[in-house]
């Protein structure tokens, strides 16, 4: 018999060096050719060797959808669970096993529609899980219905006269849900993805990374206006902690806060560099991060990328362990016989 503590005991030997191949499972990848998911998978598999973690201590949990096939392709522990529920299942695993690195992968339907409730509660609790939200603004696996991030008026199979829904802005949702780490990246920039995922991994608490991901079958080119190489300089706003927020080929444009507290795009020449907003991802108040998340309502306007928010806040699984440890210290390890005699007793 093997005790759970033997498995959870930290291995003190050096973490073996690995390569991308070590993190790739033997399963054939079955996304549509050209799908953005491939580049995200590659980015994750390439990043893992740099994290200094063990494969056996790494778990990928997903729900249902195209993105949710992700765990099958990672040579780690993995669970392809049910639609929308992966943050809940991952929370239970992470609370039971704080020794593990638990990643959650899902699409915009999985995370924001059927699983929206679990997502916001995992974020507010700050359970130590790393959530990669592949946002392609469409339902792929069910063959092309509008999703909770589709733009208003979107014509799809289920909305031939245009979608009537106001979409979610995933970054705004996460910030509103008290997330301690919120970031955005996109599937056309592997380096940026790797750096962003690594930041999420390093964060102590729940982390949400929105990944703009192209569905080349049902919503092809949804992000072209901002992520195509030729457009990036003018359309992607790189958020760098401690630096004024600027973009454009000559960094001629920037972001400042107006009198109402909204983030607005400006020409640096018009306002002067010292008026620009200096990005502070560690600001306890999420208002400015929220304002930044509202700069673009669709991926056709200049859109911020990078870490919106990364703050220190009590992490749930550690707090849960602390309660268990404190109870053992104060009350002693559980004494079953004493428990059964803890209500008034009498002798016959």
């Amino acid at each position: 018999m093997t005790d759970l503590s033997e498995i959870t005991a930290s291995d003190t030997t050096e973490v073996p060096l690995t390569t991308k191949a070590d993190w790739s499972s033997d399963q054939a990848v079955r996304w549509c050719p050209g799908c953005g998911d491939y580049s995200i998978l590659t980015a994750v598999q390439m990043m893992m060797p740099d994290l200094g973690v063990r494969r056996e201590n790494t778990v990928f949990i997903s729900g249902i959808g195209c993105a949710a096939r992700f765990p099958y392709y990672m040579n780690t522990y993995g669970m392809h669970s049910i639609h929308g529920r992966s943050p809940a299942i991952a929370s239970g695993l992470a609370i039971a096993r704080p020794d593990l690195d638990v990643w959650v992968v899902g699409g915009d339907g999985d995370m924001l529609s059927i699983g929206g409730n679990h997502l916001i509660h995992a974020l507010r609790r700050n359970v130590n899980i790393k959530i990669l939200l592949f946002n392609n603004q469409i339902y792929g696996l069910t063959k092309g219905q509008y999703s909770p991030t589709s733009e208003p008026g979107k014509v799809t199979k289920s909305s031939p006269f245009g979608s009537l829904d106001q979409p979610f802005n995933p970054i705004s949702v996460a910030l509103g849900a008290e997330a301690s780490f919120v970031a955005r990246t996109h599937d056309m920039d592997r380096k940026h993805m790797q750096a962003t995922f690594a930041r999420a991994h390093a964060h102590d608490g729940a982390a949400l990374v929105e990944v703009f991901q192209n569905c080349n079958v049902f919503n092809d080119g949804a992000f072209d206006a901002i992520t195509k190489k030729a457009n990036r300089d003018d359309m992607l706003i790189d958020l760098r902690h401690g630096e004024p927020i600027r973009f454009g080929a000559e960094l001629e444009r920037g972001v400042m806060l107006d009198d109402a507290g909204s983030a607005v795009l400006v020409d640096v020449a018009d306002v002067g560099a010292d008026k620009l907003l200096v990005h502070d991802e560690q600001q306890p108040d999420p208002s400015v991060a929220f304002a930044l998340s509202r700069l673009a309502s669709t991926p056709s306007e200049p859109t911020p990328l990078g870490v919106f928010r990364a703050v220190d806040r009590d992490e749930y699984t550690a707090a849960s362990e602390a309660q268990v440890d404190a109870a053992k210290q104060q009350q002693g390890p559980g004494d079953l016989n004493a428990l059964l005699h803890s209500l008034p007793t009498w002798e016959v």
Binding site: M1, T2, D3, L4, I7, T8, D11, S25, Q27, R55, E56, N57, V59, P71, Y72, M74, N75, T76, Y77, G78, M79, H80, S81, I82, R85, A88, I89, A90, S91, G92, L93, A94, I95, A96, R97, D99, L100, N117, H118, H121, S320, Q323, V324, A326, A327, K328, Q331, G332, P333, G334, L336, L339, L340, H341, L343, P344, T345, W346, E347, V348
Partner: protein
Amino acid sequence: MTDTLEPVGAAKDIDQVIVRFAGDSGDGMQLTGDRFTSASALFGNDLATLPDFPAEIRAPQGTLAGVSAFQVQISNHEITTPGDAPNVLVAMNPAALKSDVGRLEVGGTIIVNVDAFEERNLTKAGYIDNPLEDGSLAAFTVIEVQMTTLTKEVAKDLGVKPRDAERSKNFFALGLLSWMYSRPLDPTLEWIDAKFGGREAIVAANKAAFHAGHAYGETAELSEHHYQVRPATLEKGTYTSINGNTALSWGLVAAAHQASTPLFLGSYPITPASDILHELSKHKNFDVRTFQAEDEIAAVGAALGASYGGHIGITTTSGPGVALKGETIGLAISLELPLVVIDIQRGGPSTGLPTKTEASDLMMAMYGRHGEAPMPIVAAYNPSQCFFAAIEAVRIAVKYRTPVMLLSDGYLANGSAPWKIPDVSTLPEIPVHYATEPNQTNEDGEGVFWPYLRDENLVRPWAIPGTPDLMHRIGGLEKEDGTGNVSYSPENHELMTDIRQARIDKIADDIPLAELVGDADASICVLGWGSTWGAITGATRRLRSAGHKLAHIHLTHLNPFPPNLGELLGGFDTVICPELNLGQLSRLVRAEYLVDVKSITKMMGQPYTAGELESAFLDALNG
């Protein structure tokens, strides 16, 4: 009864008494009943209780909707139910009288708080005339006591506000009943100290009201109502009075202890299951983790996640919560991971009767999932046995890597009975085996791990994250036999479906045989499950002591059935199955064994009384 003359004022010996406390939701009737029960338990009586309260926390004061009642039977011999018709009704207001007087035995005693019988309260209760004055209670002995007035009087110099003083009147009623039935006073006085310690004025007022009620009995010429119920002759041992939810919680702690494995409860508050969450959250020193999830779905999801990580995952729920968990139970069946789903059944459908009992989720437990998704079902049958039912559910879940449905109900959850505390060294060990080594060799002669390679019980390995070299992926998609890889092969799906069924069926070899209680040569057998045990046992005992032949089989395992059940039932001309549903077990048994089960049903949110079943069985006996 003897004809010996009793000295004046001495308590008359009686074998048992059934007392029902009824009042407004704010009158503290549950607490009063609990204290009367506790004192009786410590005194050594056998007892059974039936708390009966509305779903509203505070329904409009004085109305019928707001009546909260607590019935307890205490006796000097072994009993199995809270009794049929109460002998004594304590009615704190007109609504309580109106709502519960119909339950009282003819000739029974009614103790009323006469202060509450003023026009406003009478109107709220729907009385046109005061029942205390119009002769409608002529069939009963009515004792009118000014409980509010007398309570305020004794509390007036104790530093409590008059409003707070009045709230002690339930202790006055408890004191009076304690005198009438010769209950010991110390347990209640000690309890008041412990409960209200630090709020000295409240302690003083409650104690004063309690003593005043007791003294009232002594001095107010109630001597013809002075009784004693001597201790019951129970098996030797140390006893405690326990309700089903507490026993069930302790059973879960004990099971995890016996498995030397941490327990993880994922739960969302719902009546009447919440008390298990409350109880388990106190016992973190037993390596128990409790997680109050955002909803029922997340609760079971988190429990399954914990099981995947090697903990014993548990989720608790009731009513509509069971429906919400169905999808995740299906995943657990597909993943073949241990999980215990505890359903404290209540009246349905939908929100139904949240605080009232029913046993109508058996088909839900059996079939309430899409696809062919079998899972074992264990059912508790009395409050203290909830302890063992919980251990059994965990044992099956862990050993056979399957979700298990554990059924209890509102009546067991809140009802109390004395429990002979078991010797913990007699509890079964629950061995836990995590896989640690590859279990298959690939073409290159290297060890590899196949997550769906099975042992002789068709059980797959429990390989938890953190184990080197066993990394694997599992999911809700159909898996290839052995490798666990995703498979859409028609033959494989049929094979896996058959295996999932066979592995549950096989558990029949590892559960106790069905036991027949009573007369093996009877022509009639009563088949029961769950909380009907008390009433069935009471009814069959009465009929058998009157000379009738009757057998009783009570099921604790409902899927799979004990392997001898079909043969046992086949030996009787008639099988009667009383249930708090529309005949769910009857249908399962008919389908399984082609036995023409005669179904008796009750859907009133109340348990059967032994009397109801006695007359039903008598009808059957008389053909």
